[in-house]
Symmetry: none
Subunit: 210 residues, 4 copies
């Protein structure tokens, strides 16, 4: 009714705002209750729109979840690129990777939880969604291991595929525990990141000491 007069139509601006509000609310509710237990009406309330409005922006509940996957992972990938740019050394880039991962987590804990838990189950109850973006995100690390091996810094026996999942799993589990822990019990995320990276890097190094 009282839309800003400067804009034409219900305004692309407004439309985008509303869409974003729905996505943000959905992330929060999905994180709180899990996809299956989340109610559309909760998301609508969180976004300050009517239930039916959500269906003007998304085909259905599943589409809403998939859109979150796609758009948030897209942004995550972009931001990861930025975080690693400027660093050349594979080991430096791995450290930056871990710090970036935990920074995202601390900044958007609800989103982190949705991506971790729901994305992981996606193939299970969403007909046949393939989380390509997640795989890209992970393959960045795998490439770093390859690069490290190429430069002789990382031991040739290391299997990049296996280590990729192990590293991701380690970061992920720590994320989850950090999110689940009560605020006052929370360990220091930065130190945790350093620990994990130290252990992994030392473990993979091609040092004479081995």
């Amino acid at each position: 009714m009282a839309e800003s007069a400067t804009q034409s139509s219900p305004s692309a601006q407004t439309r985008q705002d509303k869409r974003d509000r729905i996505i943000d609310a959905a992330v929060q509710v999905f994180a709180d209750k899990g996809y299956r237990s989340a109610r559309i009406s909760d998301i609508a309330r969180g976004a300050g729109v009517a239930d039916g409005t959500i269906y003007l922006y998304f085909r259905n509940k599943e589409d809403l979840l998939l859109t979150i996957f796609e758009e948030k992972m897209e942004k995550l990938l972009d931001d990861l690129g930025d975080a690693l740019s400027g660093l050349q050394d594979p080991l430096d880039r791995m450290r930056a990777y871990a710090r970036f991962h935990f920074l995202q987590l601390r900044t958007y804990p609800a989103l982190a939880q949705v991506l971790q838990v729901e994305l992981r189950q996606s193939t299970r109850f969403l007909h046949d969604y393939r989380p390509e973006k997640l795989w890209q995100y992970l393959s960045v690390f795998e490439q770093l291991v390859h690069a490290g091996q190429a430069s002789g810094q990382i031991h040739g026996d290391v299997d990049p595929f296996i280590v990729k999942w192990a590293f991701f799993g380690a970061l992920d589990e720590l994320s989850m525990q950090w999110v689940l822990s009560r605020k006052r019990d929370r360990f220091n995320l930065d130190q945790a990141a350093d620990q994990v990276v130290d252990v992994f890097l030392r473990g993979m190094l091609a040092t004479s000491a081995r």
Copy 2:
């Protein structure tokens, strides 16, 4: 069939069988669809019993899940104890821990998935269940790190609490990927176990090379 003479009534044997069949079916269905999406009627069909029969053995759907958590983790803990018994060296015990973990996974992949995914969400929508048994299972590893530090094998800078979660996350994520991958694409679990343990152990060692 093989009714023991010590048992009376419609046979404790039969009764236990039916209970086990329900639990097994539930594990399978929970693994396939997730707790919320699993239907009691699916579990009943899987167990070869009527829907109502499930309620003779379990108070409700949630009780069924919690029972799985408790009983299976109980057994897991016992078996872990057996697997580590006889080994003295903390590093050997860590290797055995990882091999045990992956062995369970390969033997009971559906159970592994339920324990991993649903336990992760447990505090969220199960009233306020605390997965004590899981914590015990993990603390075994934490103790091994402590022991390794006491014996001087593991570097004193390592934080056992952080490494515990990192290690568990690594094992877990590999488990998940192994389960999710199509049979023909599956990597070799034993080699993966060795890789992970090698990386972690090397990463934590108190070698002069550091």
Copy 3:
């Protein structure tokens, strides 16, 4: 198993006992929860028998209720006859009627509640049961009114049919309130009986004062 050796067969005595125990338990449970909410398993537990046993004595739940109606009303009618026997004067018999009614109530409150509440609704959800015995029980009072009119004690304008229901309703409601009231709040039933009878008799008398 260990039935008394003096009796043959599972003994008619035992059988009757068990049947009575079921009826008594049913009366109690029906009184507590109402027919629809009463569970067969509650009745079985109350009677100390297995659920299935009830079906050896009664066709189904409805048959159990109907049997209670029939048998208990039968006995009530007999006992009412005894209570009134020896009294000639219609007014005396009316007083005795009221006292008898309340005496039953105090002695068998659960039964009273079942007969009052469930019998009243009987035609509603039991296919087409007609509570003949209840009608007989009431018609005894109606006859007394007729007799009183014949003897000139009761005013001819009184409609025995209407007064019968009014009188029964009065007794019934007081019964219900007495049963529902907490024990310590209970009014004196005997005095209540006298009050009601006094009011009704005075109200129906063919005195010159009218």
Copy 4:
């Protein structure tokens, strides 16, 4: 149709209509089958709405029954006040009370049955509902008895508490019989009301004739 200009949205009028239709249908179905046997789907069909719609207006089945109790008893109390207003003499007011009671009954027989039967059981299976409004309705009569005693019209020996329940029970039982009787067998309610009032009033009078 006749949308008042003061109302907005899908019209408060329409909304109230639907709520009323649900209540009316519920009264009918509860009267026919009793609360426990009544099915939500029957009520929905009776109201011409979908099953789920009922839950937009009432929390659950019990809330629907309790709402009927509260709202209908509220109205009954108001209307009783109107019916007695203008009459000063306690005896006149008692007659008006009885006539009012029967008038309601004839006008809303289904409602009468619900209030009578279900309210009677209310404390039993509805959590711990206390039918305050019913007690108010009855206490009006108790006050009339007191007033009659104060004015010397009613004998001092009469216990207003006892007589209240007796009178209510008498009206109630006649109501019930009138409702249960087939239409062609129905006695004349007005004459019945007069009979009952006559008997009670005469029975309670403080005449010299006593």
